[in-house]
Symmetry: C2
Subunit: 279 residues, 2 copies
């Protein structure tokens, strides 16, 4: 139900946005877990990355994207970007009359349940780590837990360069993660949507005693619960010819499509470029 | 002289812009070579990087920045970004009534003079390399020269992470540069403003027989000539208290100042944040 008492349409698509391609790992989880849902994905490839930018800038960008998605008549919005979830979600949520969900809260919740020794590590972009957003949500649930953040700025370019299994990525992972190993964390949140793609490297460096939490997975799970609760789950099966997944970007679609097709099994045939600054 | 016959003011500052911090290596060369000139620097830190974005997007961004700099009454504009020089300069130059200079032409000129075996390598961002702009300018001067481009997308994040002298940067440099070594180039253009900061690594990997061309240096030299020719050189010495260098950014100034102060010897006390999308 929105503020006017008109419920959004349960057959409408879900809006998912990210600074670029990373949020596709979240879209992929939604496709897997609630395959009957339509998705409109927006990747802000003209202004990527968000990770090193300020709260004000990210909030302004997120507000434009929410306006664009609302014009596409989405029924709910997933902020599939840790930095935008950390910096912009609280403020944007208040201005929006449909349900919104970010990737941070679901990841924080599961991590707080998973830890045994009370030491949780979080890796992410500079923006996400500086915001201390995971610590804030985790401490609301379990105040005594110790949350240790570590920014890993090279992981995104390494993933985008395709070095998913590579000695250089191993070496950089060892450097970034050594202090988390020394502190003896038992749970590690992959606090950036690119990181599930180097999950095996991170897991190997951390060792098998450390539980890895993938917020993309938890977000899709929580989204499904939220839609069910709000009576917004699409209960009709997709018909042949339904346009299930639409992709929009703010810069050329070619590079986006290449990357998208490397991580999503459904063929992405088109991605449309829009001028997001007009929203 | 502008189109209306009014010459710009020779005491006015020079506008210098880049997608972020990289152009500071160009500003640094201008400060060294023509120390009496005032500089207004703009770094588009809210939308950095340009290297992976399209011609249309970069042209739109550059047009906004030129509008901003014109409002600051600059007498000339230096496009201190290889990608913007490659994609936007030709078009923007036509719309602007003060002299403009990019970093590509001066670098191309010196490289075409330096080569003995007619094989020139260019390293840069994906955008700069895909544009083949260096090859175009070099072939205008020396049609028989062979120009081989190689995109090095990890160099910028490695520089910004401070790994200027590091085994990881060595390893990545060896991978990126191996094909240029195999082709036996004798001249290599550092076609991205961040690369002078890892000049020693690149030089060591390439070997001492290869001449490295730094477009930042050549641009400052050519700017000085151009200003002299147009009677726009500032012939008065700066007075005590003159505000010689002003820095503007489109996102938080703190990170910019930190990086700027690490590469420019003059202390950068303030950098002002503006909303570039308003221009």
């Amino acid at each position: 139900m929105d503020k006017k008492g008109n419920g959004p349409d349960k057959y409408a698509p879900i809006g998912v946005f990210d600074s670029g391609v990373g949020g596709l790992t979240v879209a992929r989880e939604i496709m897997r877990q609630i395959p009957d849902e339509k998705i409109i994905y927006f990747g802000d490839t003209a202004r990527v990355p968000y990770g090193s930018k300020s709260k004000e800038t990210i909030t302004r960008y997120s507000r434009q994207i929410v306006r664009f998605l609302r014009k596409q008549n989405v029924k709910a919005i997933v902020v599939a970007c840790n930095t935008a979830s950390a910096y912009a979600l609280d403020e944007i949520e208040k201005e929006t009359d449909i349900p919104m969900i970010g990737v941070v809260k679901p990841g924080a919740k599961v991590a707080s349940e998973a830890t045994r020794n009370g030491k949780i590590g979080v890796i992410g972009t500079e923006g996400t780590i500086a915001s201390q957003i995971y610590a804030r949500y985790i401490k609301e649930l379990k105040p005594q837990v110790n949350v240790i953040g570590k920014a890993c700025p090279l992981f995104v370019p390494l993933v985008e360069e395709g070095l998913l299994k590579d000695p250089v990525t191993d070496e950089i992972a060892k450097r970034y993660l050594s202090e988390l190993i020394d502190i003896d964390i038992d749970t590690l949140i992959l606090g950036c949507t690119h990181y599930p793609l180097i999950r095996s490297t991170v897991g190997r460096v951390m060792g098998e005693r450390v539980t890895l939490v993938n917020p993309a997975y938890e977000t899709a799970r929580e989204l499904k619960e939220m839609l069910a609760k709000e009576n917004l789950l699409n209960d009709s099966s997709p018909k042949l010819g339904d346009n299930m997944y639409q992709f929009f970007v703010s810069d050329t679609a070619e590079k986006f499509k290449r990357f998208a097709n490397s991580i999503i099994k459904y063929g992405i045939l088109t991605a449309k470029t829009i001028n997001i600054e007009e929203y």
